[in-house]
Amino acid sequence: MSAFLQVLRVNTKKEFIEMKRYLPNTLSLLATFYIIFLALFFGIQVVGDPAEASSNTQYIIVNYVFWYFAMMTLQSTGGAITMEAMRGTLEQLYMSPVSAWRILLARVFGMVAIHLSIMVVLIFASMVTTGEWLHLNIGAIIPILLLTIISMIGVSFIIAGISVIFKQVDAFLQILQFILMAFAFVPLSVAPYLVFAPFVKGVDMMRHVMIHGYTLGDFTWVDYSWLVGNGIFYAIIGVIVYRSCERLAMNKGLLGHY
């Protein structure tokens, strides 16, 4: 455990340092997302039903911000593997007596922390721009968000596993954006079967909290079972897939290839 804490410390620090060193890149990413949000917002104002503009805007804020967050979390691990292989540092990570999946997990925690901060900035920027204020019930948001993040991390490990073998997964990640858009935007009331998909239940519960003002007590045990079960399922599958891919890469000599 102590070794993992050290791994977590240095990886979180590295993520923050690199974010600072690549600040223009981070800022332009943030600006791009904000501009797309503005386009969506003004689009709703122009073509949407004026009677439902307020609720639509709230939906857009929540869905859009969670789409951003899911996309960044899922892409960051695959992107990190590709980048490390390209730089020549990937094999160094595998030379650590702390398993590579734990290093990657620590790296994901660091990235999630950064993207959570950006997400908070985006939410406030969106609320200020639209004048629509969401229910920011921290007591309800944090536990649901943490459980939602678990399934996101699980999927990110599946992507990391694929990246360990194929490295160049950019095209796949682009397609993934649209799949994630469906997961973040389509409510469970419209497509109940999406409850099996990763993090959809969590985003749905977040919508209830942030838009309709739900508290933790307003959800049933069935909701929590789905949320926890979904997180555990994808976390386990993610690690299993990742480790299988890692073994395959070591058998085929693909680890250092790019």
Binding site: A3, Q6, K13, R21, G88, M95, P97, V98, M250
Partner: protein
Amino acid sequence: METIIEVDGIRKGYKKRKSKEEFIAVDGISFSVRKGEIVGLLGPNGAGKTTTIKSICGLLVPDQGSIKINGYDSVKERNKALRHISAVLEGNRNVYWRLSVEENLEYFSGNRGMRKKESKERIDQLLELFRLEDKRKEIVNNLSRGMQQKLAIAVALMANTDVILLDEPTLGLDVETSYEVRSLLKHIAEREGKTIIISTHDMAVVQDLCKRTVIINSGKVIADENVQHLLKLFETSAYEIQLKETLTEEQLTKLQHQFPIYNLHDLTLEVSLEHEEAIYQIMNILSLNQTGIETINRTQVNFEQVFRRLVKEEAVS
């Protein structure tokens, strides 16, 4: 001395993409390394050096055979084995170019589970040893290639492991920096008692640093010898004959037939003889066309010549 690395009959094949034919990169390689030894792993391109190195590092799983690091199997007990080994596999590409010297050292030591206080002390020691103290806060991207290479070696030393593997530690370095890196490695081996395995094409590194060399060709070990012993062995049999005229086709054919390992450039014939009497056979070949001899000298061989001859001999046999 105690054995710290035991490579036992490793074999690794890769399937070619199109033909699905199997290419054998390493075919039954065995050797062992004792604690505190500096061993040079040599071989021409494609000989199987990288496959061997990566297998020792646990980055590649051999199809057959086993590797033990300090008694731990590199596949079955990978994490335990990795506690005893660190490596520089891609030279200056092994470090993060956007982080500073100190940040790199801290990052890689933390990744091995080292505590902050412990790593800080080691960072100070290594920066002093590698004369990088004044570059502590410098972004790696701004350093010279030699400094980046020194940092990569320092990163490998951070973990204070018993064994250090270095793949081409002097590749791309100028003469001065290459000498500095060699001196550093010598110092590390002597003072810190580290076991070092160096895979290189730089024969000066082998001659200067390594006590023993393992030469690999076509996936097999063709020599596993003490470097000085090899040099002596070849020195007694190496001759340089300065000719007065160029050799005819007939002479060259006979030479090739009787002495497969020879070198001829301009009017200088370098030849390695199995026994001293063989010099008379050369005389006979030269007398075929009354080729005059200017001088005959027993030559001082360097390790590059030894290596080339061993590889050539292997190819001929």
